[in-house]
């Protein structure tokens, strides 16, 4: 792709949705998510020359977004705003039970602290390994593994107490 605007448009079309979801979960807020995505791409435009490998684009954009999010919301906000996307009709799950599980998971994700939610999002949305997440968050891979494991445990527990998904899968050796 030759021109800078064309490269930029391709970048936006390829990554806007993923960034939006990451942004919404990161801030637990859909209202600010689009603004944050706009700002991320504005900054990306200015720094386009520093992006040399197209395969690194997603991680590069997520890093810009994380920094912008931290800059905007460096002061902790009251947790009075939650993701409001819990309409079961919109979910892809085939059965009502599955839909309830997904809604419960969304509530559980929103309730997770950022320390647990962020590595989980980077893994599930971004597809990053523990090592890569460790680099992005500035923590050791072992700490990332612990956070990921605890985040899943909390979500499973929430599912269990909501009457969904049974987790007692028998004894272990």
């Amino acid at each position: 792709m030759d021109s800078r605007p064309a490269q930029f448009e391709a970048l936006v079309r390829a990554h806007a949705s993923g960034l939006y979801r990451y942004s919404a979960w990161l801030g637990n807020n859909k209202e600010d998510a689009e603004d944050l995505v706009q700002e991320t791409f504005m900054r990306a435009w200015k720094a386009m020359d520093s992006l040399r490998d197209a395969r690194a684009a997603r991680g590069w954009l997520m890093t810009i977004l994380r920094r912008e999010h931290a800059r905007r919301f460096e002061r902790p906000r009251a947790e009075d705003r939650r993701l409001d996307d819990l309409d079961p009709q919109r979910l892809e799950s085939s059965t009502d039970a599955d839909r309830v599980d997904v809604l419960t998971l969304r509530q559980g994700l929103a309730a997770l602290s950022t320390d647990y939610r962020e590595p989980l999002l980077l893994q599930v949305l971004g597809g990053y390994s523990c090592e890569e997440i460790g680099v992005m968050l500035g923590v050791k891979p072992g700490a990332v593994m612990t956070r990921l494991s605890r985040a899943r445990q909390k979500l499973r527990k929430r599912l269990g107490s909501a009457g969904g998904f049974a987790w007692k899968a028998g004894g272990s050796r």
Binding site: F8, E9, V12, R13, A16, S17, Y20, R21, A24, W25, K30, E34, V37, Q38, F41, M42, W45, L83, D85, R90, L91, E92, S93, D98, D101, V102, L103, L105, R106, L109, L121, V124, L125, S129, C130, V144, M145, L148, S149, R152, Q153, L155, R156, L159, F165, A166, W167, A169, G170, G171, S172, R173
Partner: protein, 252 residues
């Protein structure tokens, strides 16, 4: 691999099962069940994080981006215009300053003599008292022999009050300009097609002595330096360099 390690590995990296994990899964019915449940959990989790994205999000981003670039360009253009105007004003001021600032003193002296060339042909001989009366506003007195003085008057060079004397020389008239406000660092020769001269530094100013080519200016200079004194010989000092009568005086 034991069950705890298997389940922890699944919890931290659910999509990647190593050969060792696959082997344990085949052998352990309990972990096989756990893994199946885990896969179902991951499918639900992946669906949970995939919240709806606003329709046409990418188009909104691109539109907002292009509008913002346009706005930024407008701001940059305004800034450039302002800088250009400011630079124009500064250049204009600099050009005015260069145009209005005085030229070299030797050139100004020659120009002044040529402008007031009529004084060079005066033949009247002035008395020392008449000369001192003219010099009084400058707080200067003549206390010795200047030679024959044909003209004495005050004049302005570079907007400063000075004295204009015309003496008799060997080759023709010699002009002496006493310039109290014009300090010079050293002696400055004056050379023009018709005149030769010298500007001599004094305690609080300078004196220009200009005559015809070949004139013995050194002798005139010695006479002047001996005769001219700072301070009034008779009467009070005139504040502000003005004559008591309030007008510039001249004798010719």
């Amino acid at each position: 691999m034991n069950c705890v390690a298997f389940r922890r590995a699944l919890d931290t990296a659910p999509g990647t099962l190593s050969p060792e994990m696959l082997s344990h899964r085949r052998e352990c019915a309990s972990c096989e069940t756990f893994a199946r449940r885990q896969e179902a959990f991951e499918r639900r989790l992946a669906e949970a994080v995939r919240i709806d994205v606003p329709e046409e999000l990418a188009s909104h981003v691109l539109l907002a981006h292009s509008l913002r670039l346009k706005a930024d360009r407008r701001v940059r253009r305004r800034r450039l215009l302002f800088v250009s105007l400011a630079a124009g004003v500064v250049l204009g001021l600099a050009a005015s300053w260069l145009a209005l600032r005085p030229g070299p003193l030797d050139g100004e002296v020659v120009a002044h003599i040529e402008k007031e060339a009529s004084h060079l042909v005066q033949r009247r001989e002035l008395s020392p008292a008449q000369v001192n009366e003219v010099l009084a506003p400058l707080d200067i007195t003549v206390a010795g022999d200047l030679g024959t003085v044909h003209y004495a008057g005050t004049c302005r060079i570079r907007k400063r009050l000075g004295a204009h004397l015309v003496l008799s020389g060997e080759k023709g008239p010699v002009t002496v300009l006493i310039l109290p406000g014009e300090r010079v660092a050293g002696r400055i020769p004056i050379v023009s097609p018709r005149l030769r001269g010298i500007i001599v530094p004094m305690e609080r100013g300078s004196i220009a002595i200009v005559g015809e080519p070949g004139e013995a200016l050194d002798a005139v200079e010695s006479r002047i330096l001996r005769a001219v004194r700072r301070g009034a010989r008779d009467g009070p000092h005139v504040a502000g360099g003005r004559h008591p009568g309030g007008r510039e005086r001249r004798y010719a």
